[in-house]
Subunit: 512 residues, 2 copies
């Protein structure tokens, strides 16, 4: 039996064999030949994840002076984890579930109506591209939560991908890297690889004729998924004037530059660092609140109200973060580590980005505090007790579970002998943790639970009357509000019925 | 000869003796008697510093339904440091120099025209007040820069001030604390003192009839000095319902609450913490940039441009700070320490606010980096060399030198054998460092200097053509741009003439 690739909505696809791949190459080559005759610019997007898939659709959706300038080919690997995305796209569907109502129509329009977006695993067609956009992941390897300073960057797969492009890319094709990469990567890793490849191919390309640029995306899955590519500020940088011109022209087609003018920085390292700095800043703003959260709990005050009273100061304090359960997702949990790795490995600096790395550590360990509240609320007795965890995604009202902090709390509970049961109204699978089952049926999850922990502020959780929870969980059970899901009125009702209620950043609960 | 108090503009006043004080009390009492007959509410503002002086004027300036409700008495000490302020105010002049064009008119209007603001040292008249506003300082004692965790809070003078109010305050008078104080101070320090005083005075006042509240200001000296009291969001909290009502009514008269509705928090500790959290956040945002500043310098990029490219993200990243020379002023350098002290001393917590305290330490030590750049630019040879430091205030275009980071750099240079000379276009004295002379004549400061360090972005420094500096300083001198005062064009001109130029956060200079 051949290997299969299963989509999140349980469609199964056979992974293609060599013969099918040869046929695919011939098919795609034929399509490209036709499109080139029509004068289309051939854009290859490498990596059909959260960024690449939507980026490909947005490029294909572009119109310029009444015509459609680009023919877009999305490429991903014929692996169990990725092959289904190729099939989904070619069926005119978004491989990513999103609240954005435009997300399915854009794939239908470009794939089925305009016929200028296809997806394939036939990476040989890099050789036909006028523009190659790299949207593959560059992951970090954390040895242990709380030790981000020891984390390593998994740079080899990225280098291999660049090398495979280098063996095929035609001279004059723009290589545009959108992946978040350690500062210095373009200059000290990508450019040398591409030069070496050209040399091995006996192509004599001078530095001024190499076309390599970096431009980072600010994609946010959610309601404005597509606009988080099109209608948002873009920064880019390029290795030389030619690359800069081509990149500027291309991005001007994709981005609404009238409202969001492009910013060009003078060196690739500058835009590489900008992206990492941007996300490190956000991670640090979250981490900053943690020790104030504990302080507020200890002295009996409600930090949420306090943050609200401060956030009114627009422009200086309105991005202050609320207390929370933890940080997940792909960017904030790792980007600082890319910076620190660059500092040490690319630039041989001895100094860590200590303050920012500490922020990552604080965030990574944050769910332990919710576990501490649980243990306090249950007098350290959770052995064989059913603990309902409400929330599995890392953001409210989306299904994305990448690096979800829920798994940290889950492990804490298991290690202490408790029985965690995880609910999420939208998320179906814990991507990196197949051992954790997510249930979508709330009633069965909370039924007879000895503790109930709200870890995500999904709108569904606000909608239920508090009586719903009180009727299902055990009498006198422990309720932990780790994301300000319960208002004071609800908490009062629960306390009046002798439930033990504690909350992250909500020290005032003891007086309710 | 009697002691004197000298104002910053060199007016000299004799400190009053006991006889004069007795006369003053009689005079003020007579005035109050008249104002009370007119039905005025008597407000006493204790402390005529940056906050109290302007707060007093703003209250006196208040009109309500066509009439003037408040008679305001500003109180400060008859000491060399403070007595001149009393005299200035009574002459209808602002004791604080400010760019705000409204600052002198408001004192003229209230003191000389309306006659409803006077200043005095006769603290006995606390007994006549309907509202007492405490705007005295509460200072911290740092043992060493970089060891904020060991800093102590000078709480005794504050307690003594509260006690002196307690011996005189009449039952029913609202005691409104505006001073930034450690969370818990009202509950665990102020309230017990006032209760004890009433007890000693044989007054039996129940807890519900004690009137104590906390409301913190957000005053910024500068162009909008007065509006930084009147037209800005206000948070308050009170110890009971009565105090809350009186405070709300009073603040509603002073603040433009239509545009800036009041926020009431449920406990004094909440608003006490809010103020400290607000400033700790700001301090942390500054500290965060430091390690990225060093990184950008080491890898040859311009961090200012990068920050500009990120700050476009309104609401999430627009408060990102630029690289800088250091942090001064009264609040950001100490408020976190008040929080940490409260945690340890009032609430006996074992855990420090480590992340936030580290930010204070990073900021306090930041000027050492500019010194490091100087040493690098001068090949470690600054002995007997004249080093011109341009900037003495802690903010651009104001004369405030409280905790100015300039003094840290000054000491570094002296310790290394160099001869620092300090210029500022506005600031006249280094308040805590009388040994440091500030010169206002730029030419004499930079003339024949071996190094020129821009540490503050005063607009005057931007105005000069770069040739002005190049002609005065020594040929080949070292120029350090610690606050982005020089643009690339100016730097190129300097480098073309063989000046050695380095900049904080400006790694790209080496390629110019």
């Amino acid at each position: 039996m051949s290997e299969v690739s299963i989509s999140p909505d349980n469609e199964t696809f056979n992974i293609p064999d060599e013969r099918e791949t040869r046929k695919e190459i011939i098919k795609i080559q034929k399509i490209i030949d036709e499109e080139q005759k029509k004068g289309k610019i051939i854009v290859v997007v490498q990596g059909l994840g959260f960024v690449g898939a939507v980026m490909a659709a947005v490029i294909a959706d572009c119109e310029k002076e009444g015509s459609i300038p680009y023919f877009v080919i999305g490429i991903d690997l014929p692996t169990p984890a990725s092959f289904w995305k190729i099939k989904k796209i070619n069926a005119g569907k978004s491989p990513i579930k999103s609240e954005d109502p435009e997300i399915n129509p854009i794939f239908t329009r470009t794939v089925l109506e305009r016929n200028n977006l296809i997806a394939t695993w036939a990476s040989d067609i890099y050789s036909e591209a006028d523009i190659i956009i790299v949207d593959i992941n560059l992951d970090v390897k954390k040895t242990e939560l709380g030790k981000a300073e020891e984390a390593d960057v998994n740079i080899e797969p990225f280098k291999a991908a660049i090398r495979s492009i280098g063996t095929l890319i035609k001279p004059g094709c723009l290589l545009l890297i959108e992946t978040t990469i350690p500062p210095g990567t373009i200059e000290y890793i990508v450019k040398p690889i591409i030069k070496q490849c050209f040399k091995e191919r006996n192509l004599n390309i001078s530095d001024e004729n190499l076309l390599i640029a970096h431009s980072y995306e600010r994609v946010m899955p959610g309601k404005n998924y597509i606009n988080s590519i099109k209608k948002i500020w873009r920064t880019f940088s390029a290795i030389n004037k030619k690359s800069s011109n081509v990149t500027r022209e291309f991005l001007s087609d994709i981005i609404d530059i009238k409202k969001f003018p492009l910013t060009e920085l003078d060196k690739p390292a500058a835009s590489e660092l900008a992206k990492i700095l941007e996300n490190s800043y956000r991670a640090m703003n979250i981490a900053f609140m943690y020790e104030w959260t504990l302080f507020a709990e200890d002295i009996g005050i409600n930090l949420f109200e306090i943050v609200d009273s401060i956030k009114v100061r627009k422009g200086t304090h309105d991005n202050m973060m609320y207390p929370g359960f933890g940080v997940g997702g792909y960017c904030l949990t790792k980007d600082t580590i890319l910076g620190n790795w660059s500092s040490k490995q690319i630039f041989q600096r001895e100094r860590d980005l200590t303050f920012s790395i500490t922020a990552i550590n604080v965030n990574d360990c944050m769910p332990h505090h919710t576990f501490d509240l649980l243990m306090r609320g249950m007098n350290n007795d959770i052995v064989h007790k059913k603990i309902a965890i409400l929330g599995a995604s890392y953001l409210n009202d989306i299904d994305d579970t990448r690096n979800s902090p829920t798994s940290v709390l889950y492990d804490d509970i298991v290690n202490a002998g408790g029985i965690p049961v995880v609910h999420d109204p939208i998320a179906k699978i814990m991507v990196q943790r197949p051992d954790i089952t997510i249930k979508n049926d709330l009633e069965s999850v909370i039924n007879t639970a000895s503790a109930l922990i709200f870890v995500m502020n999904h709108k569904e959780y606000f909608a239920y009357p508090v009586e719903f929870f009180m009727q299902k969980i055990r009498g006198g059970a422990c309720v932990i509000d780790a994301f300000n899901v319960l208002n004071d009125e609800k908490i009062k009702k629960m306390k009046a019925k002798n439930f033990v209620v504690l909350g992250v950043g909500k020290g005032h609960i003891k007086d309710l």
